[in-house]
């Protein structure tokens, strides 16, 4: 396998309702990523593209519709979809294209427009439940997250306040992100006192509904070295899918992520991730998920994550900054684009280009992760400079 580097990144603002079409959003992110690398569309070998269910945009076979916006026309273009995990999985997918030797460059583009579906995109998630044994109970999507969050909290005796600390950490980091949907500081009390949606999930425990796109340009080593003095290498990739019998799993620990992370670390030659990784972008559609995923990523001992969070270990100036981008809680959550945004953040942080969000100490190794399907998939990318 060949070495693969990230040589460009770009994203749109994440907003509640963008006036641009999905194609226009994709174009914006893809164009910024290309321009930042110095390549033009003619130089590009292939496109790896990701969006969530066609039902969100209401356009069946959305990949074909999107092709012009992603720069993929008349090129080998391939779409990948693993629910919320798509944004990081698309990077893994693009990495294959280049690492295999088949292509020298690959543009990874992920887009999501959550605002078009009326009255609420959440309705489409109803069809992920088992058609016979679960849908008859008329579940809604929040149930499974509330059930998992409660299980996680009960297992270790965590409180609502403990979970809110993660929301505040990420939302505070997000205030410095130019693409963020939010502009106001949020406190632990704000989170705890926000509207109860599905105990234990309150409104501010959850990331917002967003529109947006993000893109990363990948290149094989010789091309990467010609294009930039600071290629950010993809050191390892991993992914894993757990059983769809979700109610029979131990919901307090993300086993699928444990497996995906170990795969990525092994490829990267990382033996002690908690010591070696400098920055982490765990997937955080909910505050508890950031902590749950830090444990699955082997970056925090099970059940000690809140203690480390309280001690400032995961703060921007801590030993292992968690979601320096602001994450989904602090920037926004256009499903697949949100995962790619996390990989963009590694690119900018490791190159020292994250402006006000820049973590101190010249980080050299970072990990990004996304999660999805029926709470069962994780994709992981380890990047280094």
């Amino acid at each position: 396998m060949r070495k693969v580097a990230m040589v460009g990144a770009g994203m749109t603002k994440f907003v509640r309702r963008a006036l641009e079409t999905p194609k226009e959003l994709s174009y914006e992110a893809a164009k910024i990523a290309l321009d930042s690398s110095g390549l033009s569309l003619d130089d590009l070998d292939c496109v790896a593209h990701g969006t969530a269910p066609d039902a969100f945009d209401g356009i069946h076979q959305n990949g074909e519709y999107m092709v012009d916006g992603s720069g993929g026309w008349n090129k080998p273009t391939m779409r990948v979809y693993v629910g919320g995990g798509t944004g990081v999985h698309a990077i893994v997918h693009g990495w294959h294209h280049v690492a295999s030797g088949l292509f020298d460059t690959c543009l990874v583009v992920c887009e999501e427009k959550m605002s078009s579906a009326m009255p609420h995109a959440q309705g489409f998630f109803l069809t992920i439940f088992d058609s016979i044994t679960e849908r008859a109970l008329e579940p809604n999507l929040l149930w499974i997250f509330a059930l998992e969050m409660n299980r996680y909290m009960e297992r270790y005796g965590y409180t609502k306040e403990d979970m809110a600390l993660a929301a505040v950490n990420n939302k505070t980091n997000g205030l410095n992100h130019p693409a963020s949907q939010f502009s106001d500081q949020v406190t632990v009390d704000d989170v705890i006192n926000s509207e109860m949606l599905a105990y234990p999930v309150s409104r501010l425990d959850v990331s917002p509904v967003s529109d947006g796109a993000a893109a990363v340009l990948l290149a094989a080593e010789p091309v990467a070295r010609r294009l930039t003095d600071k290629p950010v290498w993809i050191e390892g990739v991993g992914w894993s899918l757990d059983t769809a019998y979700w109610a029979t799993r131990d919901l307090s620990y993300p086993r699928y992520l444990d497996q995906a992370a170990r795969m990525a670390y092994e490829m990267a030659g990382i033996r002690e991730p908690a010591k070696q990784i400098d920055i982490a972008e765990p997937y955080d559609p909910f505050d508890y998920k950031a902590l749950h995923h830090m444990e699955g990523l082997q970056l925090s001992p099970r059940g000690r994550t809140v203690e480390l969070l309280r001690d400032g270990h995961f703060a921007k100036d801590g030993n292992l900054p968690m979601c320096p981008s602001g994450g989904l809680l602090g920037v926004g959550n256009p499903i697949s684009a949100a995962g790619t945004m996390k990989v963009c953040e590694l690119f900018w942080q490791l190159r020292g280009e994250a402006d006000q969000r820049q973590v101190p100490g010249n980080p050299r190794l970072g990990v990004a992760q996304a999660w999805g399907d029926l709470m069962q998939v994780s994709s992981v990318v380890v990047a280094g400079i």
Partner: protein, 171 residues
């Protein structure tokens, strides 16, 4: 709270703007009807539910007693065709108290919150839970680890569905 968390850069849209026709909208009604087959294992599961019994399958290799029952063990990847009757009681593994509908609209005044739970059924292997609902309990009294009992619909109303169990109530 709504006031405090400002959304920057986005474009707001009220239901009034939609209903007054101010927003360009294309209405498209997708008629998606499916006649799903239950599958071999779930067919038996549903037939037994109609008789107010919960049945699982056992894997002869890993010895797991699985619920919902399945034609094959996904771990050992061999047929799991030994049927085992389970209790209609169990333990609450985790629960939620849900105040929103599927479309994120809020439940109305006086409407009771939904009480979904993962219930580990007695007689199945440890950790083998199913998603169902709790009932006959005050939300504040629900605890994980609580013993619960299935409340069945009367025989005449049972139709071979997971909803033949109305909910689980505390024992």
């Amino acid at each position: 709270m709504e006031e405090k968390i400002k959304v920057s850069g986005g474009t707001g849209l009220s239901s009034k703007e939609v209903s007054s026709g101010k927003i360009f909208m294309t209405e498209d009604s997708l008629d998606c009807a499916y006649a799903w087959d239950t599958g071999v294992a779930i067919n038996r599961y549903l037939s037994e539910l109609k008789k107010a019994r919960i049945i699982g399958t056992k894997c002869r290799k890993c010895k797991r007693v699985m619920l919902p029952p399945r034609l094959f063990c996904e771990l050992c990847f061999i047929p799991s065709n030994e049927w085992v009757y389970l209790q209609d009681s169990g333990v609450v593994n985790t629960f939620s108290i849900c105040y929103v509908h599927w479309d994120a609209s809020r439940i109305g005044e006086g409407e009771k919150p939904h009480l979904p739970a993962v219930i580990e059924i007695d007689g199945a292997s440890q950790g083998m839970g199913i998603m169902h609902l709790l009932g006959e309990v005050e939300p504040k009294h629900i605890k994980t680890g609580m013993k619960v009992q299935a409340v069945w619909k009367p025989e005449s109303e049972r139709e071979g569905s997971i909803t033949d169990i109305k909910y689980f109530k505390p024992l």
